[in-house]
C-alpha cells in the first residue's frame, strides 16, 4: 500500500515538474523566424537549382557544349546543344534548358563539368503556377546574373585549399 | 558460435556446395549453394543455431547459359587453333579437346533465390542460394520456420514471380493487388 501511495505522490510531483518546464518556456523569447518579414541567409554551399556561371573576363558563359552534364544527370533534366560557328574555336552554346521538376540536386552535373561552367544558385522560394514554369532556360537567365568572380570551392582536396 | 561449426552441420545434411567466402572482401562469411528440395532442412539447421533472417531476394540470370555456352565454344575454338603449334612445339600434347556440353537438354537459365541469415552474437552472415528453372520457379516456403520470411517471400514473388509452395497468403505485397507483371525479371518491358 505504501509504494502505491508513493507512486501517486511521485506521479503528481512529476506532473507539476512538467508544468514548471512549459511555463518557463512560455516566458522565454520566441525562436521562430517570421518568414515573409525576416529571411534566413542561405549557407554558401546551399544547393539551389543549377545556373550558368558568367565568366568575368568575357562576360559570356564558359560552357564548351561538351554535354558531360547531360550524360551525368540520373534523371535527364539537362538539355544542351550548340553549333559550330566559323571563326570561333569550339562550339557556341545556343540552348541550355534545365527541367527542374525532375532534378534531385545530387550535384553530379556540377561535379562532372570540367570548365566549371555551372554552379548551384542560392534561391529557394520557387513558386510557379504550372509545371512549365519550372523549365528554366539558363542561357536566357545568364544575362541577368552578376559576374561571379570567386567560384564556390567544391571538391577541393583539403581545408587549406578551401581557405583562399 | 563460429562459421566452421555451421559449415559442418550444413555439409552433414548433404548440401551441394559450402564455401567459406572471405568476409572482408565479400561481406558474408558462408556462401551455401543448396538444391531446392534441401532448402527447408538447411534453414531449420540455421534456425536451431539461433540465426535470424535478414532478407530474401531473387536474381534473374537470363542469358547466363547462352553466355557460358558461347564462352565454352570460344575456348574450344581457341584451343583447336592453338593445338597444332602446341603439338609441334611440345611433341605430345595432352588431349585438350573438352567435349562440348552434351547436346541433349540445353541447361535452362536459372532464377536464383538468395536467403540472407545473420546471427545476433557471432559475426557470421550465411547466404543460402537456390537455383530454380525459369520456366517453373517453385520452392518450398520457410515462413513456417521464420514467420518474418512471410513478407520477404511475398515481395520476391511480386518482383520475380517465384511461387513459394505452402505460403499462407501469397498475395502481392508491394505491387497493386491485381498486378500480374513481375518488374525485376530481365525480360520485363513496362
Amino acid at each position: 500500500m505504501i509504494d502505491y501511495l508513493k507512486e501517486v505522490i511521485s506521479g503528481t510531483w512529476s506532473l507539476f515538474v512538467g508544468l514548471g518546464i512549459t511555463i518557463r518556456y512560455f516566458f522565454q523569447p520566441v525562436v521562430t523566424v517570421q518568414y515573409p518579414y525576416q529571411t534566413l541567409p542561405m549557407a554558401p554551399r546551399f544547393r539551389g537549382h543549377i545556373e550558368l556561371v558568367k565568366d568575368e573576363e568575357t562576360g559570356e558563359t564558359r560552357c564548351i557544349v561538351c554535354g558531360m552534364c547531360q550524360k551525368a544527370c540520373p534523371s535527364h533534366c539537362i538539355t544542351v546543344n550548340g553549333e559550330k560557328r566559323e571563326g570561333v574555336q569550339g562550339k557556341v552554346l545556343t540552348e541550355y534548358t534545365l527541367d527542374f521538376t525532375r532534378c534531385s540536386l545530387c550535384g553530379l552535373c556540377v561535379e562532372s563539368c570540367t570548365p566549371k561552367a555551372i554552379t548551384f544558385s542560392k534561391d529557394y522560394n520557387l513558386a510557379g503556377l504550372s509545371k512549365e514554369a519550372y523549365i528554366f532556360d539558363l542561357k536566357a537567365e545568364l544575362s541577368s546574373l552578376p559576374a561571379q568572380t570567386k567560384l564556390m570551392p567544391f571538391g577541393c582536396k583539403n581545408r587549406l585549399e578551401a581557405k583562399n | 558460435m563460429n562459421c566452421a561449426a555451421i559449415k559442418e552441420k550444413l555439409t552433414v545434411i548433404g548440401v551441394e556446395m559450402v564455401s567459406e567466402a572471405e568476409y572482408a572482401r565479400k561481406g558474408f562469411a558462408l556462401d551455401v549453394q543448396v538444391a531446392p528440395h534441401l532448402l527447408v532442412a538447411a534453414v531449420s539447421v540455421l534456425d536451431a543455431e539461433g540465426f535470424f533472417i535478414e532478407a530474401i531476394t531473387g536474381v534473374d540470370w537470363l542469358g547466363e547459359q547462352a553466355a557460358l555456352r558461347k564462352e565454352a565454344e570460344a575456348k574450344v575454338a581457341a584451343e583447336a587453333k592453338a593445338q597444332p603449334e602446341a603439338e609441334a612445339a611440345a611433341g605430345e600434347a595432352p588431349p585438350l579437346v573438352s567435349q562440348p556440353a552434351e547436346q541433349g537438354e540445353i541447361p535452362e537459365d536459372a532464377l536464383e533465390v538468395v536467403y540472407d541469415f545473420n546471427h545476433y552474437e557471432g559475426l557470421c552472415r550465411v547466404t543460402i542460394r537456390a537455383r530454380l528453372p525459369r520456366s517453373k520457379p517453385e520452392i518450398a516456403t520457410i515462413s513456417s520456420i521464420y514467420p518474418g520470411a512471410n513478407w520477404h517471400e511475398r515481395e520476391t514473388h511480386d518482383f520475380f514471380g517465384i511461387i513459394f509452395v505452402g505460403h499462407p497468403y501469397l498475395v502481392p505485397l508491394l505491387l497493386p493487388e491485381d498486378a500480374d507483371f513481375h518488374p525485376l525479371l530481365k525480360d520485363f518491358r513496362s
Binding site: T22, F26, V30 | -
Partner: protein, 336 residues
Amino acid sequence: MTLDPEIIRLLAFLVGVIAFASFNAAYLVWLERKEAAHIQRRIGPKEVGPFGLLQPLVDGIKLMTKQLIVPAGVDPVLFKIAPILVMVPAIMSFVTIPFSETLVARNLDLGLLVISAFASVNFLGLLLGAWGSRNKYAVISAGRAFSQNVAYEIPMLVIVVTLVMVSGTMNLTEIVGLQMGGFWHWNILNLAASPLMPVAFLIFFVCMLAETNRAPFDMSEAESELVAGAFTEYSGMGFGVFFMGEYANIVIGACVATILFLGGWHSPFPDTIPFFGASSVIWFLLKMYFIIFTVIWIRWTFPRTTFYGLLNLSWKILIPISFVNLILTSAMLKVF
C-alpha cells in the same frame, strides 16, 4: 400584457449571457492558440488585427460560410440536433452563475443542482452526434465519452455534496457570501471544515477537465487516433457549434470552481484595504481566466492518458479520496 421590470431585466441578462458565452467561446480559441504558441516558443496568430485579435472573428466567418455537408446515410434528425444539444445546456447553466453581488440572471435556490444537471446533458449531444453520423471513428469516441463521463461524474458530485454540506445551501450567491473577507476564508483553505479541502479542489479540477473532454483526458476527440472523434463528419457551422459548446463548458467549469472554492467575486485581500479590498466582477473574471489559463496550459504539456488508465484513475483514486473527504467533513461538522 404589461412588461414588468423583472422580465425586461431577465431578457437583458439573457442577451448578456449569450453574448458573454459566444464572445468567450471565440476568444478562448484565440487565447488557446496564443498560449500554445508561446509555450512552444512561436508566435501564434498575428496577421489579422493587432496581435491577431481579429483572428476568431475571421475564423467564425469562415466557419459560417462553409457548406454544411450532411453526408449520405446519416440519420438527419440526430445529426442536426446534436450540435444544439451540446451548446444549449452550456448557455442555460450561465443563467444561475452569479458574476457579482447583483450581476446574476436568476438567483435560484438550487443553482448548484441546475448546473450539475446540465453538465451531464452536454455529453448526450456528443453521443447523438457520433451515433447519427454513422462513422466508425465517431462511434468509438462516443463509447469512450460515455464511460469517461460516467466515471468522472461521481467524484465531482461527491465533492459538490461535501461543499453543500459545508456551506449549508445550494444557492450560489450564499455560498460565495460565506467566503467573505480575505483569501483564508475561501473554501479552498477552509481547513476547519476538512483538512482535505485543497485535495478536494484538485479532484474537482481534474473532474472538470474530464467532464469537458479536455487533455490529458481528451479520449473522445483524440486527434492522433480517432481523427476528430465524435464530430468527424461535421463541417462548417455544425463543427463551429460543437466547438463553441466545448469552450462554453470549460467556462462553466471554471466559473463553478471559482464560486465553490476560490470565493467568487471576493478579493483575496480583506475589505479594510480601500481599493483592492472591494469585491467586484473583476476579481471573479480574473480568477476564472486564471483557471482557464491553467486548463490550456495543462493541455499543451501532458500526453493523453490511456483509456483504462483514465477509468482506473477515477474509480481507484478520485472516488475513494472524495468519499474519505465526505466522511471527514461530516465528522468535523458533527464534532465542532
